[in-house]
């Protein structure tokens, strides 16, 4: 029995991204394509997203011109490929407060948002520090925090402290403290709804960018493969690795069940298709009663 369908929806991409940004220490190893995606989790009762992409309205053009972020499409266009609208989304899990994950909240007027309290608290703390510590504020848009206030005032922002089970039936949230960001979060879907699920998926946010973060060449330390953290850690690489271990433990070390959202190679593991907007939809799994949207 599978309660949820899970799809990774590409909404934009960077064609040439330094590999060292993906994989810690991979300096001078060229470029990879970096898709920008959010994840749709859908059942008969709920339509949820993991992250919402960036606020193109305010700075999309700047990103496109300066950093080569290409082919951005709105949530309305992206979701229409699955016969949905942003208004249909009732729940959003924000994995962290970077602008490219937390920016488009205004596009989802009926959703309740979940974010780790640690993430908000420490950003606010970091904002109060002297300029020489500004690196701690990378990729944070001050206006996103304000959008968060608007959500909170409407009663649509829930701050989570640590791990929470069954936020939606069979969906758990977990904190990876001081890792990619201060309070990064991953989402675990127990798709059979059981406490000791045999059908678990982990949606990793930016704790894992690509498959190589889970299974990288380990010959340098004399092992076949090893975890290797992503290129950016506000906290520590150690905490990223420990979070990876926790995520892997949840899926019984089946690395195909930890889903990175910046991974072009999802198409090699899961059914997928390219939309007319030249963006990919990857079908991670299907609920029992749902038809494929990629075949």
């Amino acid at each position: 029995m599978a309660n949820y369908s899970i799809h990774v929806l590409e909404y934009s991409y960077v064609a040439n991204y330094h590999k060292s940004g993906v994989l810690y220490g991979a300096h001078n190893e060229g470029y990879v394509k970096l898709p920008y995606c959010y994840v749709l989790i859908r059942s008969n009762d709920h339509i949820a997203l993991v992250d919402v992409g960036y606020n193109h309205k305010d700075y999309g053009q700047h990103l496109a011109e300066k950093f080569g972020v290409e082919n951005w499409r709105s949530p309305k266009v992206v979701l229409s490929e699955l016969g949905l609208t942003p208004e249909d989304v009732d729940t959003v899990f924000i994995t962290h407060a970077h602008f490219d994950h937390f920016g488009s909240v205004e596009d989802f007027p009926n959703a309740t948002f979940y974010i780790q309290r640690e993430e908000i608290e420490k950003w606010v703390w970091a904002l109060s520090l002297p300029d020489r510590l500004r690196w701690l504020l990378i990729a944070v848009d001050p206006s996103d925090i304000l959008r968060g206030v608007n959500l909170a005032a409407q009663g649509r922002l829930r701050t989570v402290e640590g791990s929470v089970e069954d936020v939606l039936p069979g969906i758990d949230l977990h904190l990876a403290k001081d890792s990619h960001t201060f309070g990064s979060m991953w989402v675990t879907v127990r798709n059979d709804g059981k406490p000791d699920s045999e059908d678990t998926w982990v949606l990793a946010g930016d704790l894992v960018y690509q498959f190589s973060n889970i299974k990288n060449d380990g010959s340098v330390v004399g092992v076949d493969t090893m975890y290797t953290p992503v290129g950016l850690a506000i906290g520590s690489q150690m905490n990223l690795l420990l979070a990876t271990e926790e995520m892997m433990k949840q899926v019984d070390y089946d690395d195909t069940r930890v889903i990175p959202i910046h991974e072009e190679g999802l198409a090699d593991r899961f059914p997928s298709r390219i939309t007319k907007e030249n963006l990919r939809i990857s079908e991670i799994c299907l609920a029992d009663n749902m038809a494929s949207v990629v075949s």
Partner: protein, 179 residues
């Protein structure tokens, strides 16, 4: 904030001399007096953005706290207020070329809105009152939203006045297009 083992905003550890002078070259493509203004305004712009986010963040934590307690690191709040006062002083001290009057005026307006926000947040703490009701919340948010509109309207990417430091964002590892 007290749960964490990090230094609070008012901790002495932060009170060391800042060794780095701002390295802001006059932005190209502007008239000299405008360029001088933009160079001078940049730290004020950045600081106002941070103050706005700090105040918004403090209020967000209050709103999302089930107990409706103000989880205020007082040093942090006071620091935001000090930074805001400092921004106002710096704004007053700047020489304003004709072309930048509207820009300067909007940032001054942003300061006024943030001062209102700060007063309202302070009133929550001062009174620890249950009478901070939906009307108060609406008024505070209106001021915050007005401040945000000023902030976005005064962005000037050519002069490095940008709401987000994109230089370290995930996307910044992309190959720059002619920059």
């Amino acid at each position: 904030m007290n749960k964490t083992n990090i230094h609070t905003a008012h901790c002495d550890v932060w009170e060391t001399q800042d060794s780095t002078e701002p390295l802001v070259a006059p932005p190209p493509g502007y008239a000299p007096d405008t360029a001088q203004y933009l160079t001078g305004i940049r730290p004020v712009y950045d600081s106002l953005g941070r103050v706005m986010a700090q105040l918004a963040g403090i209020f967000l934590l209050y709103l999302s706290s089930q107990q409706r307690e103000l989880p205020l690191d007082h040093g942090m709040f006071n620091l935001a207020q000090e930074q805001l006062d400092s921004c106002e002083e710096q704004l007053r001290a700047l020489r304003i070329p004709h072309q930048a009057r509207r820009h300067h005026g909007l940032l001054s307006e942003m300061c006024k809105h943030l001062q209102q926000v700060s007063k309202r947040i302070d009133s929550i703490e001062t009174h620890q009152r249950n009478i901070f009701d939906d009307t108060d919340t609406r008024l505070l948010m209106r001021q915050l939203n007005k401040a945000q509109r000023c902030f976005i309207a005064t962005s000037e990417p050519g002069a490095h006045l940008s709401p987000v430091d994109f230089s370290h964002a995930c996307c910044s590892c992309g190959v720059s297009k002619g920059v």
